[in-house]
């Protein structure tokens, strides 16, 4: 390791690296940026990688998409197929469909590319949804990240449009059926619907203009939009730095994780390769959309089990669940598909877009956060999220009602009726359950607490901590207003006090004190000031010290004896939490990041 030869080699490399950087810096003056970029720290929690998985799916989509675009013919012109797939030989079909058959049977490696492309789309949206749920349930959308939530949602919408336009391009019997339904949905929009479909389709359904236009949308417009939005999403993430779960050594003002270079870069690259590998395995081994079975689209034919790809299923399901109502007066009507097809998603996405505002209003929380909530910390928000998921799930299940009927040997009428009730009952039921579970977890969980503690914590003679003036438990959800909090529950109290700071699973040892540039100054209620204070948790570095003595810098965690705090923000000025002073590198910083 430290032999002379190795040291010499290291020094040679070192000077090589230096020469390279010098070359770049002479031209761009980029060293400060490069350094901060390479030193950038990304938290390591596994759930933070799901957004990345989605991004890598997008990369795979672009690469395979370019390949497919080289062979795809975006034209509705009628051709007679004489390719290698005999069961369609001699049939008249659109040039688009013929070219997809060609990709599937004639172009070498074409089929695997097409299937990888389609699987990537399916997994892409799944990863996006998972990512969005993670962001929602952990409150990562709160200030200062509301804008990125909005961009992310717009990404989701664009991806749904991109996915549907791609689903429609092969012009087989399945995709044509999907387009027929979408045509009817757009047609149903009051006042402008009929004009809009004529503009999009260039006339009555199915027309000949749509395929080339869809191709333009799918291959240029939406991808460009996605690339732009994704860049903005990432740039904002880069600037604001990733959120992290509260935990040992983590405060609102520090960040703990892996360096961008080399750790994160390599792991990110690895995840990209693994994503590609999984998609290739799916593309190679599992058929997706065997368009050759469906045959060319005929507007008067339809197959049983015609469903959209899963991520549009909730819309298809809502069309099935909405009763046979349409409204008519003065010679004008609001047609049936408008309500489940336009109004319903409009309201849903409206709520999703405005959720950061709603959330801030509910919790009276206008302060910035870098540390995440655990879902249990905000039972109401969690309940809303679970209710929304239940709602989407019921709608998605409804889109498979015919298949389920077949599978379960129940008539589909019964299934639809059950789901029509379920679409109201399931969100309420699951929401309530989620709420109760959150409360229960708050009470019994022996994990580290996240909540502000408004009461006075004292350490009793038995070494356990008690909170005075705490309303406890039930109100945990509203703790943000009330200034009371949870202190980890009885289960975790006894006998931990002496191991304070040395025990990771300790009970409520991370007591967040007020301080810093939190909410008090912004006029938030007093208690909120305490919660959002930059002070973060105690025991920043000390928790790792494995029983070592806390040194002055980080260690001051909780003094032996009692931790005394006033209620809420007032405490902020009195107790300066260790390492919590804003704009000051906390102790335990290893070569802290320089600010870009």
């Amino acid at each position: 390791m430290s032999s002379t030869r190795e040291r010499a080699a290291a020094q040679r490399r070192s000077s090589l690296v230096k020469d390279g950087l010098d070359y770049i810096d002479d031209r761009f003056g980029s060293s400060p940026f490069l350094r901060s970029a390479m030193d950038k720290i990304f938290p390591d929690h596994w759930s933070f990688m799901v957004g990345e998985i989605a991004m890598y799916c997008f990369v795979v989509l672009i690469v395979t998409g370019i390949y497919l675009a080289l062979f795809y013919v975006p034209s509705s012109a009628a051709v007679v197929y004489h390719g290698s797939y005999k069961p369609l030989d001699g049939q008249t079909m659109s040039a688009a469909y013929a070219s997809v058959l060609n990709i599937s049977f004639h172009v070498r490696a074409g089929l695997v590319m097409r299937q990888v492309h389609h699987w990537a789309a399916v997994v892409f949206v799944a990863a996006l949804c998972f990512h969005m749920c993670r962001v929602f349930f952990t409150g990562a959308f709160r200030k200062p990240r509301e804008v990125n939530w909005t961009i992310g949602l717009t990404l989701l919408v664009s991806v749904l449009l991109e996915g549907f336009s791609g689903y429609s391009l092969p012009d087989d019997l399945l995709s044509g059926t999907g387009l027929r339904v979408v045509y009817s949905i757009i047609e149903s929009i009051p006042l402008i619907g009929t004009k809009l479909v004529f503009l999009l389709w260039g006339g009555p359904f199915p027309g000949t203009s749509l395929i080339p236009r869809l191709f333009l949308l799918h291959e240029f417009l939406f991808p460009a939009l996605l690339v732009g939005l994704l860049s903005a999403h990432l740039a904002i993430l880069w600037r604001q730095k990733h959120t992290d779960f509260p935990g040992p050594g983590k405060t609102e003002t520090n960040i703990r994780g892996s360096r961008f270079f080399p750790q994160y870069m390599l792991k990110g690259g690895a995840l990209m390769f693994l994503t590609t590998a999984v998609l290739c395995a799916l593309g190679g081994f599992v058929q997706i959309n065997p368009i050759w079975l469906y045959g060319p689209y005929q507007p008067y034919a339809v197959s049983a089990g015609s469903q959209p790809d899963w991520y549009v299923g909730w819309l298809d399901g809502s069309l099935r669940l909405w009763p046979h109502w349409e409204f008519r007066s003065f010679g004008y009507e609001i047609a049936n598909p408008f309500f489940p097809g336009i109004l319903f998603p409009g309201i849903l996405f409206g709520v999703m877009y405005s959720w950061p505002l709603i959330d801030a209003w509910i919790y009276k929380d206008h302060a910035a956060h870098n540390l995440l909530d655990r879902p249990r910390d905000k039972p109401f928000r969690t309940a809303v999220g679970v209710a929304a998921l239940a709602f989407f799930s019921v709608c998605t299940i409804a889109s498979a009602s015919d298949l389920l009927a077949n599978d379960w040997h129940i008539s589909y009428e019964r299934i639809i009726e059950i789901l029509q009730i379920g679409v109201f009952v399931a969100p309420i039921g699951f929401g309530l359950i989620a709420y109760r579970v959150c409360i229960q977890l708050q009470r019994t969980g022996n994990m580290i607490i996240k909540k502000p503690i408004g009461g006075i914590i004292v350490r009793g003679g038995d070494g356990a901590y008690h909170t005075l003036g705490d309303h406890h438990g039930d109100h945990g959800d509203h703790g943000d207003h009330g200034g009371q909090g949870d202190h980890g529950g009885p289960g975790g109290h006894g006998g931990h006090g002496d191991r304070l700071g040395g025990d990771l699973t300790g009970t409520g040892h991370l007591v967040r004190t007020g301080g810093g540039n939190g909410g008090a100054g912004e006029g938030a209620p007093a208690a909120a000031g305490g919660e959002h204070a930059a002070g973060g948790e105690h025991a920043a570095g000390a928790e790792h010290a494995a029983g070592a003595e806390h040194a002055a810098g980080a260690g001051a965690a909780i003094p032996e004896g009692a931790v005394r705090r006033g209620t809420g923000g007032a405490a902020g000025d009195e107790v300066q939490s260790p390492g919590g002073a804003p704009k000051e590198a906390p102790p335990g910083v290893a070569g802290g990041e320089t600010e870009a």
Binding site: L274, L282, V286, D309
Partner: protein, 289 residues
């Protein structure tokens, strides 16, 4: 890439097909000459086991079987009762279809007839079918006839003979076209089956033999509409039959077909396997607290 799915090759070689293609052969001769002529022409019979026999002994055997097993619902002589329809003019195809697929006898009148292991042996089926086919003659109304055993044209051997007008052979392409318009709305485009209103099951076609499919098309087993020669001619019928046989093992070019159920099954696989494996990978790579 593969030129032609192996299933096609297998089909061509299949004994059944050769027999079907053999066309009108035996069945002429003994007993009721008119009856023999009538059924022999359309029958998918072979020298050894004609589906419909005109041998009076066989018909008599069929009658006794019918009286024991069928007459409680369909009435003596197939005249029909409140429980079950009249059978005098349903024809040989209907009888053969319901018996060889095990749909009859039913457990209880009113049930939907579903595929089952056949209750009757081969000889018994022949006897019963022959008896049903002979009923109009016994009833002295030979002009009113249900569909007989359909004749299935072979697939064209090469592209040269596969013209749209060649009356002697059919193509899979014609079958696909006809299937997509007339069958896929219920049986699903890959023949996976489905469901109609009131829990009526649309069976999967994965187990249906070519003869069964041909008979079902002509007969229209409840709740399926029957297709007469005016709707699907002999070529279209034969083409559909061949295409359904092809669907038993369609081109596996893309890999596992996951039953060809369409996007719902694909979504499941994509989320559970695709995202699942990736989440697992992320979990292995990242921290968990």
């Amino acid at each position: 890439m593969r030129r032609l799915p192996p299933a096609l090759g297998r089909l061509r070689r299949s004994r059944l097909l050769r027999h079907l293609a053999a066309g009108p052969t035996a069945a002429l001769g003994v007993g009721l000459v008119a009856f023999g002529l009538f059924f022999g022409l359309g029958s998918a019979s072979s020298a050894s086991t004609p589906v419909v026999s005109s041998n009076p002994a066989v018909i008599a055997n069929g009658q006794s079987l019918f009286d024991v097993h069928c007459s409680s619902c369909h009435g003596i002589g197939g005249v029909g009762t409140v429980h079950a329809p009249r059978l005098i003019h349903v024809g040989a195809a209907a009888a053969d279809f319901y018996l060889i697929t095990g749909r009859m006898p039913l457990n209880a009148p009113g049930d939907q007839a579903m595929r089952n292991s056949p209750f009757f042996g081969k000889g018994q089926v022949q006897a019963l079918v022959s008896y049903i086919a002979a009923l109009p003659f016994i009833d002295h109304q030979p002009t009113v006839q249900g569909p007989g055993i359909p004749n299935i044209l072979p697939l064209c051997k090469d592209t040269a003979s596969a013209t749209a007008t060649n009356p002697n052979c059919v193509t899979l392409s014609l079958g696909q076209q006809t299937f997509a318009l007339n069958c896929s709305q219920c049986h699903q485009i890959a023949g996976a089956g489905g469901m109609l209103a009131k829990g009526m099951v649309v069976p999967s076609l994965k187990n249906a033999t070519m003869l069964e499919v041909a008979e079902a098309i002509r007969v229209g087993p409840r709740p399926m509409p029957g297709f007469g020669p005016g709707e699907l001619d002999a070529r279209q019928l034969s083409a559909v039959v061949h295409y359904v046989a092809y669907l038993h093992h369609p081109s596996s070019n893309g890999g596992l077909g996951i039953s060809n159920f369409g996007p719902v099954a694909e979504g499941f696989v994509g989320i559970l396997f695709g995202l699942g494996v990736l989440l697992f990978a992320a979990r292995m790579m990242g921290t968990r607290a």
